[in-house]
Assembly symmetry: C2
Homo-oligomer: 155 residues x 2
C-alpha cells in the first residue's frame, strides 16, 4: 500500500533522524537505506523541496534534517514525495465529477475516503522522533543501536 517512493523517503528520513549531528552523503545514505542511489537522489530532491532536509555540496557536504525530528510527521513525509493519486488527503468531491454526487460521496468513494482517513490517523499521529526514540525496540535500518556509530539523540 505504501509506494516504494514513500517507503524510501521514510527510510532516508529515519536515518537522518538517527544521525542528527552529521551531514550524510547521498552515497552513504543510499547504502544505509538500501535504496538505489539514482532513485534516492529524486526522493531527496522532493524532501528538500518540501523543506524537510537541506543538502550542501563539497567535501564536508551531505544531507541533514532541516527541522527537528519531532516536528516532522510521517504523513507529511509520505505526501511530500507522492504523486497526486497516492497522496493521503480526504476525498472532498466525486473524483468522476458526477454533478449530482457533489460533496455527498457515493458508497464507493466514501469507503475509499474512510480507508484514507484510517491511514492518515496512523501516520498523522507520529513524528520521525517517535520512530527513533522508542526504547527496547529495534532501531530503524540498523542491526543494533551500536551499528549507527553515534548516540541516538532524542529531540
Amino acid at each position: 500500500m505504501i509506494s516504494s517512493t514513500a517507503e524510501y523517503a521514510l527510510r532516508a528520513m529515519s536515518w537522518l533522524a538517527l544521525t542528527p549531528d552529521e551531514r550524510v552523503a547521498s552515497s552513504a545514505l543510499a547504502e544505509k537505506t538500501l535504496v538505489p542511489v539514482d532513485y534516492l537522489a529524486k526522493v531527496l530532491q522532493l524532501l528538500g523541496d518540501a523543506g524537510f532536509i537541506e543538502g550542501r555540496r563539497g567535501v564536508r557536504g551531505g544531507y541533514r534534517l532541516a527541522k527537528p525530528a519531532g516536528e516532522i510527521r510521517l504523513l507529511d513525509i509520505v505526501n511530500a514525495v507522492s504523486r497526486n493519486e497516492l497522496q493521503l488527503k480526504p476525498i472532498e468531491a466525486c473524483p468522476l465529477g458526477i454533478k449530482s454526487h457533489g460533496a455527498a460521496l457515493c458508497p464507493l468513494h466514501r469507503t475509499m475516503d474512510r480507508a484514507i482517513a484510517a491511514v492518515m490517523d496512523v501516520l498523522g499521529d507520529r513524528t520521525l522522533a517517535d520512530l527513533v526514540s522508542e526504547e527496547d525496540a529495534p532501531t530503524p535500518l540498523c542491526e543494533s543501536r551500536a551499528g549507527i556509530g553515534v548516540s541516538v539523540k532524542r529531540t
Copy 2:
C-alpha cells in the same frame, strides 16, 4: 493512497455489480467508468485472472461478475490488481532483511504495518454488494439510479 489501477478496478467492478443481468462490452464499461479503454483492458485481464469476472467475445459478448457481489471484498479487488509494493497485506518481516529485526519490526515498519492494517480493516469489511445496495446514497458512477437503465439487484 489508492492507486489509479485499484480505483479503476473498483469502478469497473461497481458497474458490473450494478448491472448483474447483462454482459457489458469493455467499450461501454470504459465509458461508464471514465477509464481509458486500453488501461481498462489490463485491469479487466487482472480481474479475470483473479476469478472475479468472466468475459465472452462476440456480438453478445462482454463482461459480468463471475460470483455474487456479496462474496467479493473490496480488499480482494485492490490486491488482485496491485503490484507487489502496493498490496494490502501485513508486513511479516523486516523489508530490508535486517537479521536482528526478524519478526520484531522496528518502529518504522511497525507503524507502516499499522497503517496497512487500518486500511485492511475498512476494505476487508465491505463487499461490492455493500457499495450498490445502500439506500438513500448516490449510486456509484451514476447521476441517479435511473441513469443505469436497470433495476439495482441486491445480492
